[in-house]
């Protein structure tokens, strides 16, 4: 556990020594602001629903930028060798990296609280769905970050990691958008695999255990594959 936190803490701090974290935070906050306030007054309702609709989508694109370097950059520069030859297991390295980026994501989410807070000054905001929405965002974000970490474990090129992670995340987000074109049985299966389907119900204020378990399973599965990729280096 100590090792996980040490690796995670180092990763978290190192984000603030480079440009990526700042760029991602700025882009997320600005695009969110643009889309959110653009339509906010049209609805004339003090609700954060629209914010969650946009934020869910923005993060699917933005979060892979945070994970792309996690292992790819360590492999490119060779620092992975020093990290892994310390007395840690591969699982601790993967979990440490994940905890580090999850910490940064939590900071990002806290910053977006500025939007519901400003909404609440304009009208009577129901905070219940806001909190369940944040829980949903956190869970969906975990899944996207785990997928990003997995992609980063497959290559030593950050751009490839970014591209793979973004493609996979967007794919899972967009799955429930084309259901009308499909036969019903296939449609319900695909809907169930879609990130947005599970997330939107949480953003409405419904915390269903099945949605929580869905995101946790995706996260665990992606982390397990990242672990396998890191471990396979020994036997290649």
């Amino acid at each position: 556990m100590n090792h996980i936190l040490t690796i995670g803490g180092r990763q978290f701090r190192s984000y603030f020594n480079g440009p990526v974290a700042y760029i991602v935070i700025c882009i997320v906050m600005l695009t969110l602001g643009f889309f959110f306030w653009n339509t906010f007054f049209l609805f004339g309702r003090a609700s954060a629903r629209e914010m969650f609709r946009w934020l869910g989508l923005i993060l699917v694109f933005a979060l892979p930028a945070l994970t792309m370097g996690l292992l790819a950059e360590e492999k490119r520069t060779g620092t992975i060798e020093l990290l892994i030859t310390m007395p840690v297991t591969e699982a601790q390295v993967i979990l440490g990296k994940f905890v580090g980026v999850l910490g940064l994501y939590a900071v990002l989410l806290v910053l977006t609280l500025a939007y519901p807070i400003s909404v609440s000054t304009l009208g009577n905001l129901d905070w219940g769905p806001v909190w369940s929405g944040y829980l949903g965002l956190f869970l969906q974000g975990s899944a996207v970050l785990a997928i990003g970490l997995m992609a980063s474990s497959w290559t030593s090129n950050q751009l490839i990691a970014l591209f793979v992670a973004m493609t996979l995340s967007v794919f899972f987000w967009v799955l429930d958008k084309f259901l009308a074109l499909l036969p019903t049985s296939a449609a319900s299966a695909l809907e169930w695999l879609s990130f947005d389907y599970h997330f939107q119900s949480m953003a409405r204020g419904v915390v269903d255990l099945r949605d929580v378990l869905f995101f946790l399973s995706v996260t665990a599965f992606a982390l397990a594959l990242a672990f396998r990729a890191l471990e396979s280096r020994r036997w290649s």
Binding site: H3, N17, G78, I80, L82, M86, P87, R234
Partner: protein, 321 residues
Amino acid sequence: MTDVMIDARDLTKHYGPVTALKNASFQVNRGEVVGFLGPNGAGKTTAMKILTCFIAPSGGTASVGGADIFDDTIAVREAIGYLPESTPLYTEMLVLEYLEFAGKMRGLSGSGLQARLRRVVEETSLGDVIGKSIGELSKGFRQRVGLAQALIHEPPVLILDEPMSGLDPNQASEIRELIREIGRERTVLLSTHNLAEVRVTCGRVLIISQGEIVADDTPDELAARAGKPRFVATLRQNDHSASDIREAFSAIGDAQSVNEQAGAAAGELVVEVVPKGNQDLRADIFQAAVSANLVLLGLEQRGEDLEDIFRELTTGAGASS
């Protein structure tokens, strides 16, 4: 505790069709500084990566500090301080930050960590750059940070991959001094392709060529194995002819042959005297010069060098030894 700190048995590693290491067996005992010597691509780095559990061998096994590299990888890693080739460090971190990180990863904390930090910073003379970011440091200082992180947990075994490559002569001699210092209390396995380094730092040399260990001996023994010493005397010519000089030196009982060598400066003669056995002929040459009224300007002993042995062993010819 065993006295064999590193015990490699028949290590073999294939990368696809390429065989990087072929049945390499060697041992390093407690308190030894052993040089792993070989041309680039000979398998030095592969062997080190196997010993540090970064990769697994395709065949054979090894133990470090008594722990097996398959069964007890964590114990192996705990026993080792490792400096990989080209010193990969997190360049965005401050030196102190990085060493703290390394210490925590090694299970140190609190006042124990602080005490070890102070000690390694002193040992590696990093005091002046402790607050700088690693990316700003010169190659020599980065190398010291690499050594400092390898030493932070007082490991019984140090594995250093090319610790002196890419350094200027001053930096290299400082690092060499440091490694000698470290080697007094610990077991060190270091790799290099620089023979001069091995001479000064290592008590024993493992020469590796195309994945096979082709020699395992002390530097002096290796040099002695290669051939007889030769003595090269530089004399003032005056009005002596080369044949006078040959005659004077041939009178030395243990001299086998006396040959004039080309390349002497104007007014000087250079003569090579080869002894019959391994005798030291320097005194005899001096005496012979004096009694023949020759002015001796210089006298030098040349053994067949480690360089020659190295070349011989690593260019195919060595496979038979």
